[in-house]
């Protein structure tokens, strides 16, 4: 009996908090058939928002992946001063409110900011343009690759790398032939998480983007703007699109987990 009690509690909770609300959004979006849904997501402003979101993701994810691998190596393999701080700081975006991130960039790159003044004087627009939105996205999605790679790197040890080095392999060759194959599933998992976070970022980006329709409005901001301007169909349709991306991410996560287990 305890078993059924616990099952009812946990599945009931899941249904109330998660499944029913998300399900309702799908139902609302397709309530009147496919046509209104399609019309809502194919309007130029929504299409631009989707493109911009993808563009930001495509810039932020590779940079964070490269940094993540580098940073993990620095933390695990090289015991140099300052790495303790790096280790602690890398996790910060997981616990810090995205609003604080947005505020930070706002202060830095605004007209009166440390960098903003000089940059604007030289015609470089960072705030309310793509650069700030990418910086915000990079900040919030920073930890994922590092966090996935660090434990694997610790686990595999240094024996093989040292052997390769002793045999005269260059650092790059050692990384390419020995280290990377060992951490690739961790990297892939980190990339999936980073991508999901980048596609869905809202708080930090909404403070630094200015939300210009057709220019600096991302898909998550489009959801908010549509909802606020009585375009519920538009808001639900864009939400469904984002939710579909999220579900794809979930599937990828499952696939990557399987790949990891089988390797």
């Amino acid at each position: 009996m305890t078993r059924y009690g616990v099952r009812t509690l946990s599945l009931g909770y899941l249904a109330v908090i998660l499944v029913a609300p998300v399900g309702l959004i799908f139902w609302r979006a397709f309530e009147q058939g496919l046509h209104p849904f399609w019309a809502a997501i194919s309007n130029p402003i929504a299409v631009h928002a989707l493109k911009l979101t993808l563009e930001i993701t495509v810039i932020a994810v590779p940079l964070n992946t490269a940094f993540g691998i580098l940073c993990a190596i620095a933390i695990v393999r090289h015991r140099i001063p300052g790495m303790g701080l790096v280790n602690a700081l890398v996790d910060l975006p997981l616990a810090l409110s995205p609003v604080v991130v947005g505020l930070a960039l706002y202060l830095l790159y605004g007209r009166d900011g440390w960098f903003g003044h000089w940059l604007l004087a030289h015609g470089v627009q960072v705030l309310f343009a793509l650069p700030a939105m990418v910086l915000a996205t990079m900040f919030v999605s920073l930890p994922f690759v590092v966090r996935e790679v660090v434990p694997v790197l610790r686990e595999i040890g240094t024996q093989q790398e040292e052997a390769a080095a002793t045999l005269g392999a260059s650092a790059l060759t050692t990384f390419r032939r020995i280290t990377f194959p060992a951490i690739r599933w961790a990297v892939a998992y980190g990339v999936v998480l980073t991508t999901a976070r980048s596609l869905g970022e809202f708080g930090a980006v909404s403070i630094v983007s200015g939300g210009i329709e057709g220019r600096t409005q991302t898909l998550t901001q489009y959801v908010q703007a549509s909802y606020e301007n009585f375009d519920q169909t538009g808001a639900y349709a864009a939400s469904v699109l984002l939710a579909a991306l999220a579900v794809t991410t979930l599937l990828l996560m499952t696939v990557v987990k399987r790949g990891d287990r089988s390797s």
């Binding site: 994810v61 590779p62 627009q125 309310f128 990339v191 210009i212 329709e213 606020e228």
Partner: protein, 332 residues
Amino acid sequence: MRKLLIALALVALLIPSAAGAARKDTTLNVVGYSVPTSVYPKLFAAYQATPQGQGVKFTSSFAASEVQSKAVAAGLPADVVNFSLAPDMERLVQAGLVAPTWDKNQYKGIVSRSVVVFILRDGNPKHIRTWDDLVKPGVQVVFPNPFASGGARWDIAAAYGAELREKKTPAQAQAYLKELFQNNVSQDTSARNALNTFLSGKGDVLLDYESDAKLAQSQGKPVFYLIPKATIQIETPLAAVKGNNSDAAQQFVNWLYTPTAQTIWAQNGFRSVVPSVEKEFSGGKHPQFPFPPDLFTINYLGGWDKVNTQFFDPTNGIVAKIEQGLGVSTGG
């Protein structure tokens, strides 16, 4: 992994640069307060149909007036700005982004007018008719956050002014504001958000622009509105911003005062500043924009500079004090 990176790079190439706006045609970016969100797309289309507007493209952003004004001051690109109240324009004059002569045209830089109204639920179950009804026990009042939204400042100025018009002393009028805040159940970032909050079922009455009330009705929402006997005339400033596109921006700004453009404003619930258009919509047996018996402007309260310092200073203003005072009773 390398394949993944290559794939990502390909995707990057396939997406045409979404953020870059460097095209042959002029693209004007209009930054506005939240209320005319649904009017501007119609104005853009009408302008693009004119000879001078051909080839002009538009992007736009709408949010609370002060938010937008601060964003432009902090570097948000803008070619044309339309705020809810004049101090938000003055901020840009201070920042050197808008010419100090912006209010020197025959309309004093004001592109549209409105009045503060009560938006009520169909059937008016709480029987709200007057300013005094708003502070009765159990009446839930919605208005936006006065520290972000220009609309909220107009609402509060209207309430305060209306009390003075009823021969109340300033102290009594302030006490009234305190009661009003006690009955306030939601403070959204912008007038548009407050309208949403109200339409999704929160509160008994919404203080808002007349144009928002007309918009809600045109959306078939179960609400109606009353213009209180004494209320304030809202005046929303417009200007072109200095920069590469300033000529094209100024042309668009000038066009917004033409009878064609002003008619679009009026058809969407805003009171026209051009007398001929105004007469067309306010005259006749069933005027669309009836004048309340006791309409006053911000000058009745001493102008925005005075009102902003007196009421909306974030630490010492009357409204800030009221909110801090209420925190004691509602914060627990």
